[in-house]
Every structure is written in structure tokens, then in C-alpha cells.
């Protein structure tokens, strides 16, 4: 019944979405154009990035629409939008390269720029070459988050300090970007494999809920302050850096009441997991329906938390518990919390997408066997790239610091990533791990990659301070 309805509605809703997305893109471009006229500079990096964001968002919306409704024509427009976004993205990279006089790999901002570019290219490759059309539903939102983060991070061109002036650096970072993008792709493919393999929707519910729970638990347990405040790092807008009390000790400001909201969101986010547990325990599917409703509620609250966080934490002054007076803070000072919150919303929305999927979604995806094999092939590509990346990095370190391996956190985590994928390959080749277990492994591997890429930079100290 529901299916018949979906089939009937499909042509109309399909056109509506394309028209809506097209209109939105046109509107945003118009706004951007007005902005350009005002500033008189068309090809500034901000504008290019803005265009990138607009097109990737349009592509993301269309890919998601394709994922939900399965209308083939979406994909055409989605790839068109991706192509346009990629052109703007390439222009932004070229602009940056020209302005800086070196390849854009020397700061988190520049690396994100390159990473997003690689991701878009790989998405198009996966779509055209392997026919994995739905891949954009996962990669485009990741690209969007990347571009949004870029807007918040520092953007001035920093000249390269002497240690970074080496061809090996470019080799190292290019390989890293390629390897990480390949890992991202393998993650997306593994996730699709799980869908195609008819993994139970509730399992996804549990995983989604647990990941968002982990995000909010992390935020609340590390940042909740007395009287419901939330601690955020103070930001010096002039110097565009965090405020330090002394070496390595950052100054925190206390944003009142935001802590309560985060704590409330934590509870609501936890509820689907609790109901899932009840459903498993009492073997009663009613609880699952409740759990799905709770996911809706949690998305609403998450969006509220995100909006409040953005509104309150951006360019405002708050008192600190450690020093007198008001100190400014900015979103740029808390990139980790921000990406966590955005990621939480994104994961939950992905679950909704899965919940509402057409019963014949399987037909749109390549067969489970194919997905399994392509995932493996992607990792076969990623692993040598990771190896070469580490080797180039070691060679560069040897040229610069006189030691090819010094166990700094980034190096160590790169090695850990390498080991995790090595384990995957051993399990697959010698123990014949296929299907689900291999897919879980590929997903875990990508989690480690993400930690190496972001987590180490923001959470752990080390030599890779500029990356």
C-alpha cells in the first residue's frame, strides 16, 4: 500500500524536489552575486567556497532524494551539481595555491580544502566507473560539513615555515589525502553493503543512537559546568587563535544555560537506545516504534542544540571561571564540538533515510557481493597509499628533524591506522572474512582514520602542530 503510494507520488515529488533544489541554488547564487557586486571581487576564495558549498548542498539534497525515492533523474542533476561544485572547488584550490605559492597542505583549513576536493572526485569516479549511484548520499554531506568547517577555520595564507619547505611534504600530504579519501569511500561502500545485506533497521538504530549518545556524552561530561553552563575555549579574534593562560593551558569561558540544553539533549538522544534495549529484552516490537519516534524527537532537539550552540558560541563574550572579565569566544575555537553536533544530526538523518527507504532500495544499489568486493578493492588501494604516506612522512622527518620515527601522536596514530587495515587484509585473505564482519572492520578502520585526521590534531599534542 505504502509502496503503491510512493510509486504514484514519485513523478510529482521528483520534479518538485529538483525544482526546489534548483530554485534554492539559483536564489543562493543570486544572493552571492549581489554580495560580489558589493565587494567587487568575483574570484575571491570566499566566493568560490560559497559556490562550492551551494552546489555540494544541492547535490547532497538530490542524492538524498534519490536515496529515498529512487528517481533516476535526480542522479543526473545531482552529478551535474557535483560537477559544478567540483569546478568551484578546483578554482578555490587553484586560487589558494596561487596566492600561497605552495600546494594547499599546510594547515587544517588547506587540508580540508584538498580533502573535500578528493572526496568529490572519488564520488564522481565511483558513480561513473562503478555505478554506485547512492554514494553521494554519504560523501556529499561529509563534503558539506568539510566546507562549513572551512568557513570557520582560519583562512589567511600562512607562509611555510622552513621545516615545511620540502617536496616530500607535498608527496606525504597528497598521499595522505588520497589514502584518507579512499578510506572514506570504503566506509561508505561498507555501510551500503550492510543496507544491501538486509541488516536489521533496528541494528542501525542502535548504532546511530549509540554514536550520537557518545558525542553528547563527550560534550556534557567534559564541558558541563556549575549552574548549567558550558565551557568553551576563549578565542582571540585579532590573533585568530585560542587564548592561552600559559603554555598548553587554554582559557575557558562559561556560556550560561547551554549546559542544561546539552544535558537534556543527551537524555533524549539516549532514549532510542533505551527503548531498543527494552525491545530486545522484552521481545516486544512496540518499543521499537517508540524508539523510532524518540529518534524524531532527538533530531529536533539536536537541531535545537546545534542552533543554540551556533547562536550563543559565535562571536560573543562570556565570563570565565579562571579569570576576571568577559572573554570572546567563537565557533572557530570549538571546531570539535561543532563537528560533533553537526555529525550527530547527520547520522540521525541518515538513519531516517534508512527508515523511510523504499522497499526496493536494494535494486538501486549494486549487489551485496559487488559492494563487498568493491570495498575490498578500495582498501587494496588505500593500504599501499597509507604505506607510502607513512614512508614519505618518515623520509621527510628524517630530512628535517634527523629522525625518521619519533613516536609523536600523529605518527603513532598513522601507524595504528595502518595496522588496523593490515589486520583487515589478513583476516580477509587468510581467514576468509567476507560480508558483515569485513564491513564492520572497514567502518572501524575509517573511524580510526577520522581520529588520526581530526582527533589527534585537536586532542593530542605533537609535532604535527601545523596539520
Amino acid at each position: 500500500m505504502a509502496r503503491a503510494q510512493a510509486e504514484q507520488q514519485q513523478p510529482t515529488t521528483g520534479m518538485t524536489l529538483i525544482v526546489l533544489v534548483g530554485l534554492a541554488i539559483a536564489f543562493l547564487l543570486l544572493m552571492a552575486f549581489l554580495n560580489v557586486i558589493k565587494s567587487g571581487n568575483l574570484l575571491s576564495e570566499t566566493n568560490l567556497l560559497f559556490a562550492t558549498l551551494i552546489f555540494y548542498s544541492g547535490a547532497g539534497a538530490l542524492y538524498l532524494g534519490f536515496g529515498v525515492t529512487g528517481t533516476e533523474s535526480y542522479v543526473k542533476f545531482a552529478s551535474l551539481a557535483t560537477w559544478l561544485g567540483l569546478i568551484a572547488n578546483t578554482a578555490a584550490v587553484a586560487h589558494r595555491w596561487y596566492e600561497a605559492g605552495h600546494a594547499p597542505f599546510s594547515s587544517v583549513y588547506e587540508m580540508l580544502l584538498s580533502f573535500v576536493w578528493t572526496l568529490a572526485v572519488l564520488t564522481l569516479v565511483a558513480e561513473k566507473k562503478f555505478g554506485v549511484k547512492v554514494i553521494g548520499t554519504v560523501t556529499m554531506p561529509v563534503a558539506i560539513v568539510g566546507v562549513v568547517l572551512m568557513q570557520l577555520l582560519r583562512t589567511e595564507v600562512h607562509p611555510l615555515v622552513p621545516a615545511l619547505q620540502s617536496t616530500w611534504l607535498h608527496v606525504h600530504v597528497t598521499l595522505a589525502m588520497l589514502a584518507y579519501a579512499a578510506c572514506a569511500l570504503s566506509f561508505a561502500l561498507a555501510a551500503m553493503f550492510l543496507i544491501q545485506d538486509n541488516m536489521k533497521t533496528e541494528t542501525f538504530l542502535a548504532v546511530t543512537s549509540a554514536s550520537t549518545l557518545a558525542i553528547y556524552a563527550g560534550v556534557v561530561f567534559t564541558r558541563f559546568e556549575k549552574w548549567g553552563g558550558l565551557s568553551l575555549v576563549a578565542w582571540d579574534p585579532e590573533r585568530k587563535s585560542e587564548v592561552f593562560l600559559s603554555r598548553g593551558v587554554r582559557l575557558f569561558v562559561n556560556v550560561p544555560d547551554l549546559g542544561w540544553l546539552m544535558a537534556l539533549t543527551l537524555l533524549v538522544v539516549a532514549s532510542p537506545l533505551i527503548f531498543y534495549g527494552l525491545a530486545r529484552l522484552k521481545k516486544n516490537d512496540v518499543y521499537l516504534t517508540v524508539a523510532n519516534r524518540a529518534v524524531f524527537l532527538s533530531i529536533l532537539l539536536q537541531i535545537m542544540a546545534l542552533v543554540m550552540f551556533v547562536v550563543r558560541a559565535n562571536d560573543a563574550r562570556y565570563p570565565s571561571l579562571d579569570a576576571d572579565g568577559l572573554f570572546p569566544t567563537s565557533l572557530a575555537a570549538s571546531p570539535f564540538i561543532l563537528s560533533g553536533l553537526v555529525g550527530g544530526v547527520f547520522i540521525s538523518l541518515l538513519y531516517l533515510l534508512l527508515l523511510w527507504r523504499r522497499p526496493d532500495l536494494g535494486r538501486l544499489l549494486p549487489s551485496a557481493d559487488d559492494l563487498d568486493r568493491i570495498t575490498y578493492k578500495t582498501i587494496c588501494l588505500a593500504f599501499p597509499l597509507l604505506t607510502l604516506m607513512i614512508a614519505a612522512g618518515a623520509y621527510w622527518a628524517n630530512q628535517t628533524w634527523g629522525s625518521y620515527w619519533s613516536w609523536d601522536p600523529k605518527e603513532t596514530w598513522a601507524a595504528i591506522t595502518w595496522l588496523v587495515y593490515a589486520l583487515y587484509l589478513h583476516m580477509r585473505i587468510t581467514r576468509g572474512w567476507r560480508g558483515r564482519r569485513a564491513a564492520y572492520f572497514a567502518i572501524a578502520g575509517f573511524a580510526v582514520v577520522m581520529f588520526t585526521f581530526f582527533g589527534v590534531t585537536y586532542l593530542l599534542p605533537g609535532l604535527h602542530a601545523y596539520a
Binding site: 599501499p384 630530512q399 634527523g402 629522525s403 595504528i416 589478513h426 589527534v456
Partner: protein, 488 residues
């Protein structure tokens, strides 16, 4: 008893060579390495920072188990050795089989192999020779070198490519062992430290990481060093002109920059930092007599230089503070950076039989400049700089780099080079006299792509069969029969 021992040895060998052990060990390495990035590590972290981060009890426990220096702890080294042992054992355990496979290729498929093999195809042929020639030509055309296998009672065609791919995994494992070997050699015999040289200074004492010093059998002199900046003032380039001095002779010269070290006798000198050492190279002054009678004098002084001002007065450049602070009427050096400089001059007058302290700038709390018979005006200050060199000796690094190259090659073989084999065997039914050419193939990876290749080969054999003269008639008949057979 001896038998027991052998059983135990055999069992331990099986354990150490098993993939489970390898996986467990690798997971342990992952966990411990991750712990090493989360717990603050000595000696990178300063002791007082460690004390701030952890309570004394916690710190004592962490230190006792070695978690504050994971990567140099004996148990981590032990674990790495176990991993090496495991890789070696696993490789040795599996090697004989692979070697047999590698050194004695399976050239003639027997009947049971032919039945089970995939992909395979049988084509009707006129006679054995036609089939063999067709297969040979087809294999030639796709760039293989087919060989004719002749046994006592049967014959066939065998062709293969990239047999080395079967050995690739051993190349990878061997390269990892080579890398481990290199790092162990470096850990045991290598060292690294720093050597700071002022311009013009010669030294052979290296300060090691652990606080000890090491005397080199030769010395290094820094002739000059410098820094170039970007427009915004951030450093762009540091350079030092270094000379190796051995037995009193200059034996090697090189201008080093960051990323381009000097190598002498296995010891590398890297440009690591550059900065003022807080000392004055040349201080330029103009001196005028306090009473106005007499000539102005210009002079350039280094610390401890003494120059005459007139017949019975001299001035000595006594002290220099690049960044001074005054406490209780005394001047202290706050840092080596040229932030807030002060110079101490001593004017000695034989006539008055007494010394006068002069400070530039005027420091009234310390001395009264106006008493001096001469007054001074600073015109220029040239600071001298030190160049910070990182010195290291890594005798094992060649093993590491060859290991890395070998690893790259090995991985390329593991993932991208496929061992492909093709067999063609004519099979004749003694009752009917009809002949079929059995074609089989095998690949050790990327099987779907191989299947395509196999189908192309079969098509090409079919083409060849048509072009071989003298066989065409009977072949056509055979084809019909073959198709009928397939139809069933």
C-alpha cells in the same frame, strides 16, 4: 621425556606461527601505542607539566609500569620482538608450501583438477595437434609464452605470468623485518642530540637527548649563519656554513639549510634552529668628552675590548644584557632575546685614579653616567647568533629505507600483480575418436577481471581453430556435435 619436549616445542611453534597469535599481538600493539599517545610522554613533556597533569600517586604508578615512556619501555620493545618473531615464524611455516608451488609449477592438470577447475571450457577439435597449435597461437597473441608439456602418456600446453606474485607476501614480511632490524640497530647503536654553535665557534660536544654528552672524533665549526624572512616577518630560511675539522684540517664544507643536512662519517648535522645567543658581535659608539674640550671619537667594540679615549683615559666594554631587569641596584639578564638591551662600559681615568661606570641606556638606580669624563652615544648594535644543529647517527637507517622500498614493491605485487596460469589439454575419447580441447585458467587474485580475460582467450582459440588449414571440415562437424552436447 625427549618426546615431550619435542611436542611442547612443536606446540609453541604452531602457536607462534599462527595467525591468531599475530592478530592478538597486533591488537596489543595498537592498544599500547594508543595509550602512549594519550598518556603524556617523557622526556618530550617537561617534568613540571607532568606533575601538573597527574596526581603524585598516579604519576608514580604510570612511571612504574612505564606508561610515561611507552615507546622506550622494555615491554614495548619485547612486544615488537614478539611481533617480529611471529612474522618470521608464520613466514617460515608457510614458506615451504609456497616455495614448492613457486619452484615446481603445476604444468599438467590431471583429470580431477580439470573437473574442479574454474573457469574452464572445452572446445571441439579435429585432432590433438590442431588444438595444441591453436592454443599456442592464442596464448602468444595475448603476450604469453606457452610451453609444450610432454609427459610419457600425455601432453598439453602451459602458460603463466607473474609467478613471483605468489612470493609477494614474503617480500612484504621480509621488508617489515628489515625495517624492524634497522630500527633496532638504531635503538642500540644510534644516538641523537643537539649542538649549538656561535658564529665562528668550533665544537665537538653533542648534548644527547637523555642529558648526557657525547664527544665526536672530529669537530664542527660554524663560519656563519643567518635567517631570511618573509615580508610578514615569519622565518623563511635558516642557513649555516659548516666546516668539518679533523686532525686540525678542514676536511669538508657545506652550507646547510633546513631539510638539507651535512653528512660526515655517518653523522648528520641538521639545521634545527637559529637565534641570537645574547652576545654582541660589534657595538658601535660615539664618545664625546664631558667638558666639551676634545675630539668626538667613533669606535666599534666587542665585549671586553678596551680602547684608549685620550692620553690617560680608556674605556672597556664590560658587560652586555640583551634583555635586562634591575633588582636591588643590580642588573640581571632576563633572556637572550634582544628585547631590552643594556651595555655596561667602564671608563678608567689614570688622572683621577678611578673607574667610572657608564650604562647605556642611562640607569640611574645603578650608576650616575654624568660623573664620567666621557659621554657615549650608541649608533649601532650587531648581535652575534647561534645556529642550532640537530646531530644524529642512525647506522640502521639504510636497512629501514631499503625495507621501505622493498615494502612498496612487495605491496605492489601483493595487490596489483596477478599470477595467471592457463592450461590447454587435448582430450580424446578412445571409443568415439572425437577430441576436445580442455582449456582452464587460474588467478590468485582479482578473479572477476581474470574471467573476462579467460573468455577472451577462449574466443581467440576458437578463431585460431578456424584458420588452421586442413582441419576446417572435420572441425565444423565437431562444432555441431559440441553444441549439441552443450544443448543437453
Amino acid at each position: 621425556m625427549a618426546l615431550d619436549f619435542r611436542a611442547v616445542a612443536h606446540k609453541s611453534w604452531r602457536t607462534i606461527a599462527s595467525i591468531q597469535t599475530g592478530v592478538v599481538l597486533l591488537i596489543l600493539v595498537v592498544i599500547l601505542a594508543a595509550a602512549g599517545t594519550i598518556v603524556l610522554q617523557r622526556p618530550v613533556t617537561e617534568p613540571d607539566e607532568m606533575q601538573r597533569a597527574y596526581s603524585p600517586q598516579a604519576l608514580r604508578v604510570l612511571d612504574a609500569v612505564g606508561l610515561t615512556d611507552v615507546f622506550h619501555a622494555w615491554w614495548f620493545l619485547g612486544l615488537m620482538l614478539l611481533v617480529s618473531l611471529c612474522i618470521t615464524a608464520a613466514s617460515i611455516d608457510r614458506f615451504p608450501n609456497s616455495w614448492r608451488f613457486f619452484s615446481r609449477p603445476y604444468k599438467y592438470p590431471d583429470e580431477s583438477f580439470r573437473r574442479a577447475s574454474h573457469p574452464q571450457k572445452s572446445l571441439p577439435i579435429a585432432d590433438e595437434e590442431t588444438g595444441l597449435v591453436a592454443a599456442q597461437r592464442a596464448l602468444h597473441s595475448i603476450g604469453f609464452k606457452p610451453e609444450r608439456v610432454v609427459r610419457a602418456d600425455h601432453f598439453g600446453i602451459f602458460a603463466e605470468r607473474h609467478r613471483i606474485s605468489e612470493m609477494a607476501v614474503y617480500i612484504v614480511h621480509a621488508s617489515l623485518l628489515l625495517i624492524f632490524f634497522g630500527t633496532i640497530v638504531d635503538g642500540l647503536w644510534g644516538w641523537s642530540g643537539t649542538l649549538n654553535l656561535n658564529e665562528g665557534q668550533t665544537s665537538n660536544i653533542v648534548e644527547l637527548r637523555d642529558g648526557n654528552t657525547r664527544k665526536l672524533p672530529f669537530a664542527i665549526r660554524c663560519d656563519s649563519a643567518g635567517q631570511e624572512n618573509y615580508k610578514d616577518g615569519t622565518p623563511k630560511k635558516w642557513w649555516s656554513k659548516l666546516v668539518v675539522v679533523a686532525d686540525g684540517h678542514d676536511v669538508q664544507k657545506k652550507e646547510i639549510v633546513v631539510n638539507d643536512p651535512l653528512l660526515y662519517n655517518g653523522v648528520r648535522f641538521y639545521q634545527a634552529s637559529y637565534g641570537p645567543n645574547g652576545n654582541v658581535d660589534k657595538f658601535s659608539l660615539v664618545a664625546t668628552p664631558s667638558n666639551g674640550s676634545g675630539e668626538k671619537q667613533e669606535m666599534g667594540l666587542a665585549v671586553n675590548d678596551t680602547v684608549p679615549l685620550d692620553a690617560d683615559t680608556t674605556v672597556r666594554f664590560a658587560e652586555f644584557f640583551p634583555d635586562y631587569a634591575i633588582r636591588d641596584g643590580h642588573v640581571y639578564r632576563k633572556s637572550n632575546y634582544l628585547e631590552n638591551p643594556a651595555a655596561h662600559l667602564v671608563v678608567t681615568s689614570k688622572l683621577a685614579g678611578k673607574d667610572f661606570d657608564v650604562w647605556i641606556p642611562t640607569l640611574d638606580e645603578v650608576a650616575d653616567n654624568s660623573k664620567s669624563p666621557w659621554q657615549f652615544q650608541a649608533t649601532d648594535l650587531k648581535m652575534s647568533h647561534f645556529t642550532g644543529l640537530q646531530v644524529s647517527h642512525e647506522p640502521g637507517q639504510w636497512a629501514v629505507w631499503s625495507g621501505v622500498v622493498l615494502l612498496g614493491v612487495g605491496l605492489a605485487f601483493v595487490f596489483y600483480v596477478v599470477h595467471m596460469r592457463f592450461w590447454a589439454v587435448p582430450v580424446c575419447d578412445p571409443k568415439t575418436g572425437r577430441c576436445l580441447l580442455w582449456i582452464g585458467g587460474s588467478a590468485n587474485r582479482n578473479r572477476d577481471a581474470f574471467e573476462q580475460r579467460f573468455n577472451d582467450l577462449v574466443a581467440s582459440v576458437e578463431e585460431e581453430l578456424k584458420t588452421i588449414p586442413g582441419a576446417s571440415r572435420s572441425e565444423q562437424v565437431a562444432t555441431v556435435v559440441g553444441e549439441l552436447k552443450l544443448g543437453n
